[in-house]
């Protein structure tokens, strides 16, 4: 078991006349849905919903920064999972780049205990690949996996040494967990602040070239092919990266990938504003790269949409661009942002988005797949596609407000979230 939450009984409720759309089961139609003690007990055909109510499998986010331990001023398990619930999520995985790093049974065990008390939705914890994320020695992966680590990652940093990468892939087989990688060749990305290209040239900001990402993906896919081990690449940003993953998949490497809502919606042109909420690592790239990410999501090269929710204190963003922290929040806005900027514009189909936000990540990480069918545990997101809402600094459940969507009006609001049979969010 790699997900943890307080053990409480399931809820009973009925959802009347909603469009039920579950790409995993193929269901798409108007239904009345009954949930008893947390389990879906009936799906009865109903009249077309008057309002744009959509009932979808709740989302799964494999890439969240909960900032615990160490930066509880930015996020806690309680606030981060409440934000996830408000965003329609029924399960999330937290990254280990905390202070201290999640690299020992002691730290992981304390987090699991906290989640059993405070988590609003089932929450899993990734442990680090290397001790202290220093890229030198492997963590005690077998012990960590037995305790409940959901997988291993040095997220925030690349595994610079190819030798350590090889041993991590070999050894993680015994732990039975997936390695997930932040791909960045540090001598190419150096002190990069944004994508290298015409915008960085015009602004004078140090460039973080896309080749710094793709060259590491190619390296790690080669090692994975050699060892016949699976691999997951986090937050793809560039056309060459999508091509590298696609090529590796074509030659039989078990490599999966994820992409963030901000990389799908934005380009580096936005950085011209010097708004620090457009500063993230890896950085926003060109329109051509964005198109490649959309194509990769459509053809299945990219299996997951993951937020990379990265809360930061206000004073870490209210600085000149180069001094600002990397990262943006995303849990509470991911669906609405994608729906507003990509589905309504015709770039992505709704059922594909729902699949990549739910079934896709659940399968990659071996988590329970949310399904809408009689007898299934209820993991549901009830969404009002006709609702407009404005993203404001004081409207977040997250403890931080460093969103690239501040001031934006979005379409599609999460009305209700049911995670593991319990109503965890009701607007």
């Amino acid at each position: 078991m790699t997900l943890f939450w307080p053990d409480r009984p399931g809820d009973s409720l009925a959802i009347r006349s909603a469009r039920v759309l579950d790409p995993a089961t193929g269901i798409d139609g108007a239904f009345d849905v009954t949930i008893e003690d947390g389990v879906i007990t009936s799906l009865v055909a109903a009249a077309e919903p008057a309002h744009g109510l959509l009932l979808a499998p709740a989302f799964v986010d494999p890439h969240v920064h909960l900032r615990v331990p160490g930066r509880e001023d930015e996020e806690t398990i309680a606030t981060g999972t409440a934000a996830a619930a408000a965003g329609g999520y029924c399960a999330i995985l937290a990254m280990p780049n905390t202070d201290p790093v999640v690299d020992s049974a002691a730290v992981l065990g304390a987090l699991i205990e906290l989640a059993r008390e405070d988590a609003v939705i089932p929450t899993g914890f990734m442990a680090s690949i290397s001790k202290g994320q220093r890229g030198e020695e492997l963590t005690e992966m077998v012990e960590l996996a037995r305790l409940g680590a959901a997988g291993f990652t040095d997220d925030g940093f690349p595994v610079v040494s190819a030798g350590l990468m090889q041993r991590a892939l070999q050894y993680s087989a015994v732990a039975g967990r997936l390695l997930t990688l932040h791909e960045e060749e540090p001598t190419l990305s150096r002190d990069g602040q944004m994508n290298e290209g015409p915008v960085s040239a015009a602004l004078g900001l140090a460039g973080w070239p896309s080749v710094a990402e793709s060259v590491m993906i190619e390296r790690d896919c080669s090692i994975a092919a050699y060892l016949q081990r699976p691999l997951h690449i986090m937050h793809l940003t560039a056309r060459e990266s999508v091509s590298a993953v696609r090529a590796a998949q074509a030659r039989g490497v078990a490599v999966t990938a994820e992409v963030s809502p901000h990389h799908l919606c934005l380009t580096d042109e936005t950085v011209r504003t010097l708004d620090t909420n457009y500063k993230m690592n890896p950085p926003l790239r060109s329109e051509d790269d964005r198109q490649a990410l959309i194509e990769g999501l459509r053809d299945g090269t990219i299996a997951c949409i993951a937020t990379d929710h990265a809360p930061h204190a206000r004073h870490e963003k209210e600085t000149p661009f180069e001094e600002a922290a990397f990262g943006v929040t995303g849990l509470e806005t991911s669906f609405a942002a994608i729906y507003t900027f990509l589905v309504e514009t015709g770039e992505l189909d709704l059922d594909l988005v729902l699949e990549r936000m739910s079934t896709g990540p659940a399968r990659v990480f071996g988590l329970p797949v949310p399904r809408i069918a009689v007898g299934e545990r209820a993991n549901l997101a009830l969404i009002d596609l006709d609702a407009d809402w404005r993203v404001t600094e004081d409207g977040f459940r997250s403890r931080s407000a460093n969103s690239w969507l501040l001031g934006e009006t979005l379409h599609g609001a999460i009305v209700k979230t049911i995670a593991n049979g319990r109503v965890v969010h009701a607007a």
């Binding site: 150096r190 002190d191 602040q193 290298e196 290209g197 015409p198 915008v199 960085s200 040239a201 015009a202 602004l203 004078g204 900001l205 460039g207 070239p209 799908l264 919606c265 934005l266 380009t267 042109e269 936005t270 011209r272 504003t273 010097l274 708004d275 620090t276 329109e287 964005r290 004073h315 209210e318 600085t319 000149p320 661009f321 180069e322 001094e323 900027f341 990509l342 514009t345 770039e347 690239w404 969507l405 501040l406 001031g407 934006e408």
Partner: protein, 331 residues
Amino acid sequence: MTEAASVRLPVVRQDDDARPRRHLLGISDLDRDDIERLLGTAATISRSLDREVKKLPVLRGRLIINVFYESSTRTLSSFDLAAKRLSADTMAVRSSGSSADKGESLKDTALTLAEYDPDVIVIRHPHIGAPDLVARATRAHVVNAGDGKHQHPTQALLDLYTMREALGRLEGLHVAIVGDVLHSRVARSLIEALTLVGARTTLVGPPTLIPRGIEQMGCEVSTAIGDIEAADVVYVLRMQQERMSAGAAYVPSLREYAAEWGVTPGRLRPGQIVMHPGPMNRGVEIDPRVADSDVSLISTQVRFGLVVRMAVLYDLLAGGPTGDGLPLEVA
């Protein structure tokens, strides 16, 4: 750019005043008319400097704060004297010996200085976007005196003024900018300004110091020093060694750089003028024989820097497109 890519371009500078404050954060704050007006004002001011008493009473009672978080000789002295010649009160804040030493954030420093009700804050800062932050945090007009590798708009304006004084025109001029473009805020402001006034720009330097994609700013790019010969103006950039982090190795050595891209008498043709924003590394990017020759306008640039900065301060506080301040001619 698609709709999705342009979802939000927030208004970086907003104000609740009826009349929006004007800033000079970058050349993109100006259009061609603004540049013509500023250069015209500078020419008027220039005539006043020939008088015995050089002080103009136009900004009496105004407060101009110079916030310099990076070492500077000519820009700080130029802004300070420009403000004094316009009869404004001035104050200088430097990073060393200030609260910045104690870890105070720029925002807090700006809020502190804002309590003195400055009319203008002139800021130099090692990081891009610092002037924008001060503009958001205070009610002063903000002038960017150099932010990281981003912009140095008054330098570009004084360079245009110098070129026009020397050659009589800007439109159709061909300017070769030679050297370390990658680390140069001067180059970025100048390329934008030259494009705005209809001049042609060619960047010449080692490929490692020419940023990828910069031709989209409207300039040509070359690695051959011979290409400076076609230009009317050869604008030499400083090799900014202090921005070359250890191990970055942009060029194998300064010796090889000087040999391949140094501006020497033999690489110039008669009739060309040579400019440099200073401070120079004699013998690296510029041969001392060129620096000290008649074709060099390097000292003229400093002199014109003063009048152009006076013009900028006057324009922000008393002139501007509406020109409703104290007229310079009467003064």
